[in-house]
């Protein structure tokens, strides 16, 4: 049933491409229906899968001569991420309600992107996973290049090329693994049990991890992210930071760690405390947490703050992955969900609610616009989103970060300390953004506030309220009652750790 999320999205994209132009209203409604349907299926699939381990959805031979299967399946981790995708898709459509330029094509590319993402999360054949992973690249390019803002063509090309290079690295590893395992099959199950030699895994692991890590915002391969997020139109930023970066992390988990676990074994020698690829990536993750946070602290463009904060939050995911223990991995997956929703919320506010009305993202300008009075919805929405982003209890981020910290403490205490510092800096930059954009202490000058009254900034529309409510509920429910997701994630992580043979 979950496979219909993929098919519906692609079918929807095709139909949208063929719909008559000049009727943006029709396109929007249709896109919303498809996205919402996908979300509904994701919820239903999630509920149906509760208590079951991995369920296979389809498994047919695709290219028999090479043993490639068209295999779709879902375990707890997949279901949670599919749920996230449904949320991001629906919210993305809602927050793009005001797009008038080439509306059909916008939603067509958007749904194609979503379809590809669903596909990655549900694929259990490496070749199929790779195909979906690559399918997602081209719509991204066009979404940014056509409907983006600052330096969009440059940002789009950078993003496309970085993603493609990353996937090229994965392709190389895929080809090598296929050949090394006797060229029988490309399913994840087969490759995981194919007895690939530790020597092979020792280089296949970093290659794959970095290949996927590029998309996950692994430092120092993250530079596409701030530029890309800032340039992208709101819905694309939401999906980019919210879901696409999770594709990368998912790939790191399912492929790199799942197929090449011995790549994380100690090398036998150690250099300034680094003795294995696991150490390397954990340190890079921690650097990412700190770097992203510190750089976010000095930005003058609102959207760049959020962009860098995404790099920082993804660092938590990657750190959680490298802990290789139950609680750390659980936290990583939960953080994937949590940050996906929160990032979507933040970009929606900055991009759609603020930028589309004020046409500026510079703090200097926003300070003088006194948005608290003119756009109170945006201000309060950002308060809530900011609280969630800071990791305040009651929102999903708190639980996730808690788990990652505990998990990383069990692994190596120093990482925890550094990550903790990152959280504190996170509070600081969110705070700063909040103050400067909405709660400034400046008094309005005569120039800002003419006697005739404030310049009208446009009322808040119902799609914005709906999208905001959807995402806030998504993070609040999980924050208050984390079991709703943990019950799905924990068994899946347990199985993963047991099967992986990882340390």
């Amino acid at each position: 049933m979950l496979a219909w999320t993929i098919y519906l999205s692609f079918a929807g994209a095709l139909v949208l491409a063929l719909l008559p132009k000049g009727k943006p209203g029709l396109a929007r409604v249709f896109a919303l229906l498809i996205a919402a349907a996908g979300f509904a299926i994701a919820v239903a699939g999630f509920a149906a899968g509760m208590g079951h381990g991995r369920t296979t959805i389809t498994d047919v031979m695709w290219v028999p001569s090479m043993g490639i299967h068209y295999m779709l399946a879902a375990d707890g981790i997949s279901r949670v991420l599919v749920l996230l995708t449904g949320l991001a898709a629906t919210a993305g459509v809602l927050f793009s309600w005001n797009i008038e330029y080439r509306t059909n094509e916008f939603f067509a590319f958007f749904l194609a992107l979503i379809g590809g993402v669903y596909g990655v999360f549900l694929s259990f054949d490496l070749f199929l996973l790779f195909v979906f992973y690559e399918i997602a690249i081209v719509p991204k390019y066009f979404l940014i290049a056509i409907w983006g803002s600052t330096r969009r063509e440059y940002a789009a090309m950078k993003l496309a090329l970085y993603s493609f290079v990353g996937s090229a690295m994965v392709l190389i590893a895929l080809l090598a693994a296929y050949a090394a395992s006797g060229s029988h099959s490309t399913t994840l199950d087969f490759l995981a049990h194919a007895g690939l030699s530790p020597h092979f895994q020792m280089w296949a692991f970093p290659l794959t991890f970095v290949g996927f890590g590029i998309l996950a915002g692994l430092w120092p391969f993250h530079t596409w992210a701030p530029t890309g997020h800032v340039a992208a139109p709101t819905a694309a930023s939401m999906v980019l930071a919210g879901v696409i970066m999770k594709l990368g992390a998912y790939g790191c988990l399912r492929v790199a760690m799942g197929l090449f676990p011995h790549g994380m074994d100690p090398w036998g020698f150690s250099f300034v405390g680094i003795g294995s690829w696991r150490d390397v990536f954990a340190i890079l993750a921690v650097i990412g947490i700190l770097y992203g946070a510190l750089v976010a602290l000095v930005q003058t463009d609102f959207k760049f703050v959020i962009g860098y904060s995404s790099v920082s939050h993804m660092g938590f995911v990657l750190l959680g992955l490298m802990t290789l223990n139950q609680i750390g991995l659980t936290g990583a997956v939960l953080q994937m969900y949590s940050h996906g929703v929160i990032a979507g919320l933040l970009f929606a506010i900055v991009g759609r609610i603020v930028y589309d009305r004020t046409h500026t993202r510079q703090f200097g300008d926003l300070e003088r616009m006194h948005l608290l009075r003119r756009l109170p919805f945006a201000a309060w929405a950002f308060v809530i989103a900011g609280m969630a982003s800071m990791g305040l209890p009651g929102f999903s981020g708190f639980v996730a970060e808690l788990q990652v910290l505990v998990g990383s403490w069990h692994a190596t205490p120093w990482w925890t300390v550094a990550a903790g510092v990152g959280i504190v800096v996170g509070v600081a930059y969110t705070w700063r953004a909040l103050q400067k954009a909405f709660f400034t202490d400046l008094r309005p000058t005569a120039e800002d506030h003419p006697a005739s009254g404030w310049h009208d900034l446009g009322a808040i529309t119902w799609p914005e309220i709906a999208g905001f409510s959807l995402l806030t509920a998504a993070t609040l429910v999980v924050g208050l009652y984390p079991r709703i997701l943990l019950d799905a994630i924990e068994p899946a992580v347990k199985t993963f750790l047991a099967a992986g043979g990882a340390q």
């Binding site: 790779f130 066009f142 789009a156 090329l161 493609f164 392709l171 190389i172 090598a176």
Partner: protein, 486 residues
């Protein structure tokens, strides 16, 4: 020598020749007063019928070897097996390129044009099945001479003449090298039959001889020219740029298929490690040169030329690490690549006629001017870049997997890694054109008109690219089964 057998073996070639003569006769005799469109349509139609007849005739051929006195040592031609695959591909692709003639205005001599195309195609067919050095050479020359003429066909264009001249001069020299190399091989073997040559060169005293190396290098030079491998590629950009669009489509597709089929034959026959080494060097150099040079282009035709060089590089890897599996993968690659290229040149031709230029800027706003054409362009270029689920991706994956399965060593792995890396680079330049078509605003918003039949064929090609990419087993199985028979 039984001429009946020879005739049977060469039925498809005969069909093409008859079609070619028929076209000329019909055009000269009956269509002198007709409009150019009609003449072009009829000529193309006759050509296509000829091609299809050729395909039909191949059904009855089966797998057979035609030799002078019945022994393998004197075999001249084979039919069936992978040769048949290549031949069918050539016939179908030729048919497609003939369709492109319908929309073009570069010449009044449409009958002669179609005839030359068909004769070239005949040469291509001969090459596929050739088992003897001289037969190879004859087929190659038949193919090449036709191509030179086709390049020059746009009499009103200076670029056409320039391209053709470069092609001819370079080609002539390469043919000389090839013949020189063949003569050495004959010297070793005492016979021009490929089996005899192979037997001779694996003999210990010959295989270490430096003269063999000279021979192989000369042969590589000659053949490298045909497939536009670096450093024998200098003709390609100018020829691609100067030739009229349908002719360029033919050059880029059919001649490549034939040339690679030939390379497969020769590689299967001569397998010394030095030949592999040569191919590796050519492959690596072509990948580098083709991709890097393509980055700097501003003309779509030259872009396609350099990308052809790059693709030749990928394909040569399949030859360098030769096995049944890599052979099949190579066939898959070249056939689908050729199909995609025909489509690409089709689109380029249409845009050129509408905007007067083949520079990137001619594609500005194509999305608005003709959305269907833009969609076709999107599919084709992404396939060339290797984006799934299009056939170009599968072809690359299949080929690289075959290479690694055939011979997994540090070098082969490094080369595959290089190829994959360069594929990533190639996305950049393909996106440049797509960016113009979809993202940037048009300078001229008028609608671009396309002949309905041409549009249909382009759509068909795009659809094939998508379908074959989503269901790779379709073509793969056919190639696998057909080649095994050999």
């Amino acid at each position: 020598m039984n001429y009946a057998d020879l005739f049977r073996a060469m039925l498809p070639e005969t069909a093409l020749e008859i079609a070619a003569l028929l076209v000329v006769v019909v055009d000269l005799a009956f269509l002198r007063k007709a409009a150019l469109n009609t003449r072009a349509a009829i000529a193309a139609l006759l050509g296509i019928v000829g091609c299809l007849a050729g395909v039909w005739l191949m059904q009855g051929q089966g797998v057979a070897t035609f030799s002078v006195d019945g022994t393998p040592g004197t075999a001249l031609l084979v039919t069936g097996g992978y040769a048949a695959v290549a031949q069918i591909a050539i016939l179908i692709l030729t048919a497609f390129t003939l369709v492109l003639l319908l929309d073009s205005r570069f010449t009044r001599h449409v009958g002669e044009y179609v005839a030359v195309v068909l004769m070239s195609a005949t040469g291509g067919l001969i090459i596929c099945g050739a088992q003897d050095l001289l037969v190879i050479f004859v087929g190659l020359e038949l193919l090449s001479l036709g191509l030179y003429i086709l390049t020059a066909f746009a009499k009103r264009s200076g670029k056409s003449a320039e391209g053709a001249l470069k092609y001819y001069l370079f080609g002539g020299m390469s043919a000389a090298f090839l013949l020189f190399g063949f003569s050495y091989l004959y010297g070793f073997a005492g016979s021009t039959n490929l089996q005899e040559v192979f037997a001779a060169i694996v003999a210990p005293d010959v295989s270490s001889s430096p003269l063999l190396y000279v021979a192989l290098v000369a042969v590589a030079a000659g053949l490298g020219f045909k497939v536009a491998a670096f450093p024998f590629h200098l003709w390609a950009p100018d020829a691609y740029e100067g030739a009229p669009a349908p002719a360029a489509a033919f050059i880029a597709s059919v001649s490549k298929v034939a040339s690679f089929a030939l390379l497969i034959t020769i590689t299967a026959a001569i397998l010394p490690s030095r030949w592999s080494l040569l191919l590796v060097i050519l492959a690596a150099a072509s990948m580098f040169a083709g991709n890097l040079a393509a980055l700097a282009q501003v003309s779509v035709r030259r872009l396609l030329a350099y990308s052809a060089i790059a693709h030749a590089g990928y394909m040569l890897l399949g030859l360098a690490y030769f096995s049944d599996r890599s052979r099949d993968a190579l066939l898959y690659y070249i056939v689908t690549y050729a199909l995609t290229t025909i489509g690409a040149f089709g689109v380029v031709g249409v845009v050129e006629r509408a905007t007067g230029t083949d520079r990137f800027d001619g594609f500005l706003g194509l999305n608005k001017r003709n959305p269907l054409l833009a969609a076709v362009l999107l599919v084709l270029f992404l396939s060339l870049a290797g984006i799934p689920p299009l056939v170009g991706f599968w072809a690359k994956f299949n080929l690289f997997a075959a290479v690694l399965t055939t011979h997994a060593s540090g070098l082969s792995f490094a080369l595959v890694a290089l190829a994959v890396g360069f594929s990533a680079v190639s996305l950049y330049y393909y996106l440049q054109v797509l960016k113009r078509a979809f993202v940037m605003a048009p300078t001229d918003e008028s609608r671009i008109k396309v002949d309905p039949v041409v549009m249909l064929v382009l759509l068909l090609i795009a659809a094939a690219v998508v379908v074959l990419g989503c269901f790779p087993a379709l073509l793969q199985n056919w190639i696998g089964i057909a080649s095994k028979a050999f």
